[in-house]
């Protein structure tokens, strides 16, 4: 099948107005804010060596923070700020999505603009500054009619660099809830949909190039005093701004938002929930690719209405418990504790997505390993791989403590690549997920946990505080409770990880619903 006739391409194109519009809006807002702050700062700082040094140092440090971390840091920061303003001034604001993305990206845009503006103003021939003074200009007139125009090429180069950086980095705002072209990339990576990944990358690169060239046109038109060229560049930028201001999909306040974390199972379940809500006549949209902590806080703050989380995750990460209780006791405890935060634990879906140590079946048989206890004696010669968070999670500490595990090498991997890596022998053991469809595909086995070191990870439906008594919503979700068993979920996940036209979360969700409805 050729790429052009691939239905995933038309599906990707269908998302384009929404993703591109949001991407453009967040990028341009961040760039505008960054410029509004950096340009005056640079102008004020140019004759003040101490302030100038401090500014450039801070901006450089910000630049060294990885984009994803910077974006992620703004979410808790704003959340804390919102609760402060609520306490002090009686209002709060959404710390989710647009605002943290704009602030973090604006901060990110500052270095090139600051540096180039200061350098550009610094590089002006002192004789010209004297001439400006000599012909009778005030400091302000000198700045606006001599210094800034002369420094313009250098300043514009900085602005263009900032624009390209911001547009590129904006793809990372997806995990904090801002829809962007990054949605293609995150979803594509998680569901092995390379068409999506490619589409997102090409779209972001094209947007960056177009904005860069429009700014170049504007600059060269101004510098060469060619009004038509400058007007063309200016009109192009203005058109983009206008396009960004047109709300792509007006989201009414009665619309439900379904959240999803950054892995395939979550994409499928969010698609399933969204379809169920729409089938019940409710307006629903999906916010996919959210970070694990962001999504919980977003639910608590009411930025999303419903999502699927896992009992062990909530117990350890959100409630900061270290004890591990039997399954039913833990669920009851969890329900009560979440209720205190006004979050409704609506029910379990029927399967568990726990961490489990996974090895190839043949290897397990050869080494006579059935449980983690059997593995412990071989561990010193083996390597283990886990996802980005596993080795800093309490489960890992508990496992090591309970079984005295100590591996030769620890590696972190993109979860989708772990299964292939263990199947091919690149690593010996992986910390996989029990519901992952790849376990069956690669002929792997999950090792038993006789000491119960890993807590239960039942998939749960959580509802936002404002949906605690929403009967329509609850009626629409009711048919999903206890209907998805581990085999069904594994098969769904396996389908979602396929690299073909039927592997989109929406198609898999439809298949899943048919299976549930057919029983």
């Amino acid at each position: 099948m050729s790429l052009l006739s691939d239905p995933r391409l038309s599906e990707a194109a269908g998302h384009l107005p929404d993703y591109l519009g949001n991407h453009l809006r967040v990028s341009l807002a961040a760039l505008a804010l960054g410029l509004a702050v950096s340009l005056p700062l640079a102008i004020v700082a140019r004759n003040r060596p101490v302030m100038r040094g401090a500014l450039l140092a801070v901006a450089s440090i910000v630049q060294t923070v990885p984009g994803l971390a910077l974006l992620a840091l703004f979410y808790p920061l704003l959340l804390a700020l919102a609760s402060l303003t609520l306490n002090w001034f009686g209002f709060d604001f959404s710390a989710f999505g647009f605002l943290p993305a704009v602030l973090a990206l604006a901060l990110y845009s500052m270095l090139p603009v600051l540096r180039n503006t200061i350098t550009g103003l610094d590089g002006i021939d002192p004789a010209l500054l004297e001439a400006a003074q000599g012909v009778g200009m005030t400091a302000r007139q000198s700045l606006f009619s001599v210094e800034l125009p002369l420094a313009l090429p250098v300043i514009m180069a900085g602005i263009r660099t900032a624009a390209v950086w911001v547009i590129g980095t904006a793809t990372l705002s997806t995990p904090i809830g801002q829809t962007s072209l990054g949605n293609y990339i995150f979803a594509g990576l998680q569901t092995q949909n390379w068409v999506f990944v490619l589409f997102g990358c090409v779209a972001a690169a094209a947007l960056a190039l177009i904005v860069d060239q429009l700014l170049a046109l504007l600059e060269s038109g101004l510098a060469a005093r060619k009004p038509i060229r400058a007007a063309l560049g200016g009109a192009g930028i203005a058109a983009l701004v206008a396009a960004a201001l047109v709300p792509s999909i007006a989201r009414s306040s009665s619309s439900y938002v379904v959240g999803a974390k950054t892995f395939a199972e979550q994409y499928v379940l969010a698609a399933l929930i969204t379809e169920r809500l729409q089938a019940a006549g409710l307006q629903a949209t999906t916010r996919a690719g959210l970070g694990s902590n962001v999504i919980y806080e977003a639910l608590a703050a009411g930025d999303i209405d419903v999502y699927v989380d896992y009992s062990g995750t909530l117990w350890l990460n959100q409630l900061h418990e270290t004890s591990i209780k039997p399954r039913n006791e833990l669920l009851a405890d969890l329900k009560a504790r979440l209720a205190k935060q006004h979050i409704t634990l609506f029910g379990t879906l029927g399967f568990e997505n726990a961490y489990a140590l996974v090895i190839p079946k043949k290897r397990a048989e050869a080494l006579r390993i059935h449980s983690i206890a059997d593995l412990a004696s071989h561990a010193a010669t083996l390597s283990i791989a886990g996802d980005y968070e596993f080795f800093s999670r309490p489960e890992w500490a508990a496992l090591r403590k309970a079984y005295g595990l100590s591996f030769r090498v620890q590696r972190q991997m993109q979860p989708d690549f772990m299964y292939a890596a263990v199947a091919s022998g690149d690593v010996d053991v992986i910390a996989g997920y029990t519901s992952d469809g790849l376990i069956a595909r690669y002929d792997l086995v999950t090792l038993d946990d006789p000491k119960g070191a890993i807590p239960p990870y039942d998939a749960l439906l959580l509802l936002a505080p404002k949906r605690a008594h929403d009967e329509k919503l609850q009626a629409a979700l009711q048919p999903l409770l206890s209907r998805i068993d581990i085999d069904l979920m594994r098969e769904a996940n396996l389908r979602a990880s396929g690299n073909d036209a039927d592997s989109s979360p929406t198609s898999v969700a439809r298949w899943l619903w048919q299976r549930i409805g057919g029983r």
């Binding site: 004789a127 004297e130 000599g134 009778g136 007139q141």
Partner: protein, 266 residues
């Protein structure tokens, strides 16, 4: 000689030198000097003599530490420096033209700052281009870098005259030009000075140029005013530095007389 248009009374200016461990350098040392209306004063001195500082004190590009400077009878400290600069023409050493503005915009800048209507500015620019003999071809629409050095300096003069100042300050205006251009421009300016009734203070390190242009010459050395007078008066000076300065033009004149018999002095 009529009333003094510019007067310096016991003026001093020190600069803190960064190079010499924060020691102060006296650029202008207790100078008193009066320039009469309509006079063409040329200040001569080597580099570091304080001649440029003396010039800039007059329109407050530099502020004096002590002493009093009066322009048209007013103490410059009591007037707004920006307004002061707008009514004094200033010709810069390197031209000082703004490279991003057309020749017309450069010439019209001070009237524009004074909020003169655009049509009046345009008329004034044409008038000035003719005055400095740049009226052939569309020079006004060009950018400074498209002009020759001599043409740029003519634009510098036109810009200084744009707001019809009574006083023109010139900082080595012809220093970077070839001798022929320089001579032509100096002659043309001398004529403008007379024709427009200007009062001019010009700086140069070239004694020959000073002798040919000046009504009076002021000789500066190490911040001090060493001698002041008409060329003939300076010629009688017993001051060794003044005698040294005059030696070159004298020798040149003798050699030229010998080489070009019958031509007579210029």
């Amino acid at each position: 000689m009529t009333a003094a248009l510019i007067s310096y009374a016991q003026v001093s200016k020190r600069f803190v030198s960064r190079r010499d461990g924060g020691g102060a350098v006296t650029a202008v040392d207790n100078v008193s000097l009066e320039v009469a209306t309509g006079e063409f004063l040329v200040v001569v001195g080597g580099s570091g003599s304080g001649k440029t500082t003396l010039l800039r004190l007059a329109n407050r590009l530099i502020e004096a530490d002590s002493g009093t400077i009066a322009i048209e009878g007013e103490d410059v400290r009591s007037v707004d420096p920006v307004g002061l600069r707008r009514r004094i023409g200033y010709v810069f050493q390197s031209g000082g033209l703004f490279p991003h503005m057309s020749i017309s915009d450069n010439i019209g800048i001070t009237p524009k700052l004074l909020a003169t209507p655009p049509r009046e500015i345009a008329a004034r620019v044409d008038e000035l281009l003719a005055l400095v003999r740049l009226d052939d071809g569309a020079v006004g629409d060009r950018l400074p870098h498209e002009l020759s050095g001599g043409q740029r300096q003519r634009v510098g003069v036109a810009r200084a005259l744009a707001a019809r100042p009574r006083i023109v300050l010139m900082d080595e205006p012809f220093g970077a030009l070839d001798p022929l251009t320089r001579d032509a421009l100096a002659e043309d300016y001398r004529a403008l000075h007379r024709q427009l009734g200007l009062t001019t203070v010009m700086i140069t390190h070239d004694m020959t140029e000073a002798l040919l242009l000046a009504d009076r010459i002021a000789v500066m050395r190490a911040g001090r005013l060493l001698a002041l007078g008409r060329p003939a008066e300076l010629s009688a000076s017993r001051e060794p530095y003044v005698m040294e300065l005059l030696r070159t033009p004298r020798r040149q004149a003798e050699r030229l007389n010998a080489l070009l018999p019958g031509a007579g002095p210029a």
